[in-house]
Symmetry: C3
Subunit: 140 residues, 3 copies
């Protein structure tokens, strides 16, 4: 019979950049013993994102961060919301340009991630944070 | 036992900009009396988006809109699809750069939104519209 | 009673551009005979996206592709990850700027898509690929 379970993951960041957390998510899924289902992740912050990206070449993550730093420059005079510094409003824009949530089907007891896909939290602030990711799992 | 319910929210916009509608969503959730679950929102238009953003400082919304107006200029000569005016194709691009749907887990009877997170509909057209947001709630 | 079902769609692409696959998804939904529910789609690749866009005027798709080609130029010297050619890293960036998944409620036995909304796979590579989209359907 269909059932659900929920948890929260804490992801520690060391400042701007992508942090993979596929492993704890997969471990949680494994102990839930769901064969078919749907996993949803949601980051409870407005200056971090959730992202599926390539987990093979670390250059991909560095390039992503470089591209977004150029697209949404810190300290852009366009921004009025600067309460927390030059990387404050760019973080909100980067969040809007990406996503705060991910829904990933589960099949044969595993996330349907492709060969090169990993689950990442993208920290947009320069300072490290402890980020909370709420997780919901439905399945049987 | 797991159950589901669905509804549609109407969000009135006054032209380009973000309109918060966290409150009616939370009210609907409260009357559904779901303790743990998953809420999904989907906007039925191609020139509006759904977004989680900071709900404290209104400058954030203004900055977001200014940034996107610069990134995707109205009347850009690049665009051929101009049937409905200079803000027509930019609206579709803004929709592609953001998202039309949001999935938000429910825990302890409440959306797991962070302290500063609100649910917004982002109107991309200059003219106001009545936007329809389909909602699905699963839980128990 | 709530139940779930899952499948995989194969979407053939002929190189960069949007490929609509609303029809096979709707057909699968119809045979599943779900009246109310939630459909989730997830693309198992890091250089393609899923997107809801206008399905009336083909200029919209061409304009989207032109805009993204200008925003994320192929062969940008900023990028170090160039293993698979000048469109490799831009594909990952385009994936980050859009989304790999879509959740669409089902009501009255149909996807709640608006009049002009279609479901698209966006191929970001110049070469054609066979793309896999995992699908999960919950409902009753």
């Amino acid at each position: 019979m269909l059932r659900q379970t929920a948890t929260t993951f804490a992801v520690e960041t060391r400042g701007r950049g992508l942090v993979e957390f596929t492993r704890p998510v997969a471990a949680w899924l494994a102990q839930a013993a769901v064969e078919t289902g749907l996993l949803t992740l949601f980051v409870r912050h407005t200056s971090a994102s959730l992202l599926i990206q390539e987990n093979a070449d670390p250059d991909v993550r560095a390039d992503l961060d470089r591209f977004f730093a150029r697209l949404v420059p810190d300290g852009d005079p366009l921004f009025r919301h600067v309460d927390e510094g030059p990387d404050d409003m760019p973080s909100h824009v980067r969040s809007a340009l990406t996503s705060v949530q991910l829904a990933i089907p589960v099949a044969d007891g595993r996330l349907v991630l492709g060969t090169w896909q990993g689950i990442y939290l993208w920290e947009h602030r320069h300072r490290g944070h402890r980020r909370e990711v709420a997780a919901h799992l439905l399945g049987e």
